[in-house]
């Protein structure tokens, strides 16, 4: 039995909390890469929050608005899949919603920001940093984290938006992109504000008991390496410096060109999507940074058969065999419609791989 199996076994049992809780407190002093190296086998983070909701029979909207319900949903998935790392369903509309953007919440789909009402410097200067204890959806998410860490002594992963992604929601993604060229001063002022918002929210998530923070910065994938450093990386670094827990930075899509800048943020883990060829980037990533990824969420996990998932997972694990600083995962959040047997196939393949 690998160490990670023991941690998972202890962490899920209520009566073992007197052992599990000190174990998690001790883990806080260990860097993520060391934890991964000591695990004894590959760890799997399926990013299956939305699939957990589908399994629960409750709606996405209800889960994202009700912290206790989301906890029940995730607890069900932890048992069902036997997870050793628990994570919340990611929702990058929480911060923009709290800042004043209208958010559309379909019953069973990812919510989205339906309008980007801010554009001028005056608009930006009038924005207030939302209080995570007062905003209902920030409170729901922190409540989920609090309940998870009270019930399970596992590595609870939770998080929120990166600064550039939040900025893009506030003013619109195309505007944010163009403003990096046309109005850099306005962008910097906006990003200062966004960094304060992210920092306050993530601090509340940490206080609620999260062991690992996940920063989702998908919109930064559209930037050049130089613009990434200036408009996302520099602010992400400040954000990470303010968080007393290991941080995983996730960028969707083809973020291979941003790797150097992502490493410079101080993130202890980099979560990369399917378009990035992990084995080829692994050589240029420092060994104390954990690479996380990157099974294709659409062509393999959504459209594939369990057999196909097993083959692709094994191929991915084989290709990353030389690297100890690696955690197996899907490239991005799993779609709500992902077949359960495919998720099970991925998790079991990782667990059985030696």
């Amino acid at each position: 039995m690998a160490l990670i199996d023991i941690i998972g076994w202890v962490g899920k049992r209520r009566w073992a909390r007197p052992v599990g809780v000190p174990m998690m407190l001790a883990a806080r002093r260990i860097p993520l890469a060391t934890m991964v190296r000591l695990a004894g086998r590959r760890i799997c983070i399926p990013s299956a929050g939305y699939s957990a909701i589908a399994l629960s029979g409750t709606s996405v909207r209800d889960n994202l608005c009700d912290g206790a319900l989301m906890f029940e949903t995730l607890a069900g998935a932890i048992e069902r899949f036997g997870l050793e790392v628990d994570g919340t369903a990611s929702d990058l509309t929480i911060e923009p919603g709290a800042c004043g953007c209208p958010v559309t919440m379909p019953d069973n789909d990812t919510p989205y920001v339906s309008e980007h009402p801010f554009s001028t410097l005056e608009d930006i200067r009038a924005l207030q940093v939302p209080d995570p204890l007062a905003d209902p959806r920030m409170r729901a998410m922190t409540e989920t984290v609090r309940l998870l860490s009270k019930r399970f002594a596992l590595l609870t992963v939770a998080g929120g938006s990166g600064p550039f992604t939040l900025a893009a929601e506030l003013i619109g993604a195309s505007e944010a992109a163009m403003n990096t060229v046309m109005e850099p001063a306005l962008m910097h002022e906006l990003l200062e504000y966004c960094t304060r918002v992210c920092s306050a929210y993530l601090a509340a998530i940490v206080r609620a008991g999260a062991e690992v923070i996940l920063i989702g910065e998908p919109t930064a994938a559209i930037l050049s390496p130089a613009s990434y450093k200036e408009f996302s990386g520099a602010y992400t670094k400040r954000l990470i410096d303010s968080i007393p827990r290991p941080v995983i930075l996730h960028i969707c899509g083809d973020a291979g060109h941003l790797l150097e800048g992502m490493c410079a943020t101080g993130a202890q883990g980099l979560s990369l999507d399917a378009p990035v060829d992990l084995p080829s980037v692994a050589q240029s990533v420092p060994r104390d940074v954990v690479l996380i990824g990157n099974l294709d969420t659409v062509s393999v996990l959504l459209e594939g058969t369990p057999e196909r998932v097993r083959e692709s997972t094994t191929a991915m694990l084989e290709s990353m065999r030389p690297y100890k600083n690696y955690v197996a995962s899907s490239g991005c959040d799993l779609s709500y419609n992902t077949p359960v047997e495919n998720i099970v196939a991925m998790i079991e393949t990782v667990r059985g791989f030696r």
Partner: protein
Amino acid sequence: MEDDLLTGIKAGVVAGRLGGMGDMTRAALDTGVPAADIMSLGLIEAMSIVGEKFEKKEYFVPEVLVSARAMHESMDVLRPLLEASGVEPLARVTMGTVKGDLHDIGKDIVSIVLTGAGFEVQSLGADVPSEKFVEAAAGGAGVVGMSSLLTTTRPRMAEVIRLLEERGLRDGVKVIIGGAAVTEGFANEIGADGYGADAAQAVRLVKSLLGIQ
């Protein structure tokens, strides 16, 4: 002098110089450069260079969007003249992100690169009701392009194809799809004419579907 103005317009679009493109275009027209030449030798060539730079990763999304805005400053001056003269583009392409999906940038980049390749692109925006795509096909679009970034919205693409069939419009239009939520396999499954993984592929796809070299 005329060449200088055309070169200036082209360079202005490639560099994304905003604010003066309209005046430069009017100056070129005043010296007798035909609107169609400004369009093809200035703007389309410029956008084709922008597309190449994007493919070579010299330009990224922000630079491409700014160049496109510079092109539109010039286009706004040219459009009434081009419409009056009845110059025909290679083909008309209608692009949009399907209903329920607000991701704009990917299909905008494809639209821009298609414009650089000489196509007239009509953008329907994001969150487009299926009926709008059908109307575009009925209105004479040769190609309908749909984007989806959320796997939960991609059934809309099949719906558009079904509606096109029901209205008897399917044979007269090529349907192409793209976006992170779809694959080649999905394109085949719903009976689309093709799938493009990125902007460069989309241009090659449209050209091959329409038999253009």
